[in-house]
């Protein structure tokens, strides 16, 4: 696999292609199909957040090296309204649109590492990682 893969997220169609690409990369990196499903599902949720809350953004998928291990990193970045209260957004059941919520606590459970930075009015970046067993 060469470098990293970027998928522009502008519509709900892009959600499908982002998660399909994520699964391909996960397979290439030697993740089990169970893990690849978890990764693809996490990408789907992150891409959906972009479409629902920021309209457009970008998903970056790349290989990462840790101490004696390899993994996959997914970065979802947008320039949308941002999240005022991150701690609240990470609580199960939180939602600003009356729907199922941002799904961020779920994404956190699907992956091994989770990082979020957000500035109201500027945008949100969520970076997640999963290590190969």
């Amino acid at each position: 696999m060469v470098g990293e893969i970027r998928v522009a997220i502008n519509s709900d169609q892009d959600i499908v292609s982002a998660r399909q690409k994520g699964r391909v990369v996960a397979n290439e990196l030697g993740f089990s199909s169970g893990d690849a499903t978890l990764i693809a599902t996490a990408i789907s949720e992150l891409a959906r957040n972009i479409v629902s809350y920021a309209r457009k953004g970008q998903i970056t998928i790349k290989k990462v090296n840790g101490h004696n291990r390899e993994g996959i990193a997914v970065i979802a970045a947008d320039e949308g309204p941002g999240i005022a209260d991150i701690r609240q957004a990470l609580r199960d059941g939180f939602s600003t649109s009356g729907s199922l919520g941002l799904g961020l606590p779920g994404v956190r459970r699907l992956m091994d590492e989770f990082e979020i930075t957000s500035q109201p009015g500027k945008g949100t970046t969520v970076a997640v990682k999963k290590w190969r067993q």
């Binding site: 699964r23 978890l38 599902t41 799904g103 779920g106 699907l110």
Partner: protein, 120 residues
């Protein structure tokens, strides 16, 4: 992407072909309810065997389909959820509570036939 809806006796069978977009899912939701009304179906089987990812939107849509169909007096059975997909779903807290599930199409039909004592 069109989701084919098959009429089999008193039941309708909707088979998800591959990865569906949100628009496809919304269309399916409307289509299924209309067909249930049109054919006075007693139950709907939604076969998701081909779905390799079930995220919160897809899961919520399935629940909404089941609710709307129940309001029409019919039942919904979701069949064919893959083991890995089921594992990811519960991690996300998506459990399709209140919706009947079965291993595959055959099991779903057996369940409904038993329930309605219909022979096709």
């Amino acid at each position: 992407m069109e989701v084919p809806i098959l009429k089999q006796g008193a039941f309708l069978i909707a088979t998800f072909q591959a990865a569906l977009s949100d628009a496809d899912l919304n269309q399916l939701r409307m289509g299924l309810v209309q067909q249930v009304v049109k054919f006075r179906s007693r139950a709907v089987i939604v076969d998701v065997t081909a779905m390799d990812v079930m995220d919160s939107f897809a899961s919520r849509t399935l629940r909404e389909i089941a609710h709307m169909i129940r309001l029409r007096g019919a039942e919904t059975v979701i069949v064919g959820i893959q083991p890995e997909v089921a594992f990811a779903m519960v991690q996300l807290g998506l459990t399709l509570e209140g919706v009947a599930t079965a291993l595959d199409l055959e099991e779903g039909l057996a369940y409904l036939n038993e329930k309605f004592k219909v022979t096709n």
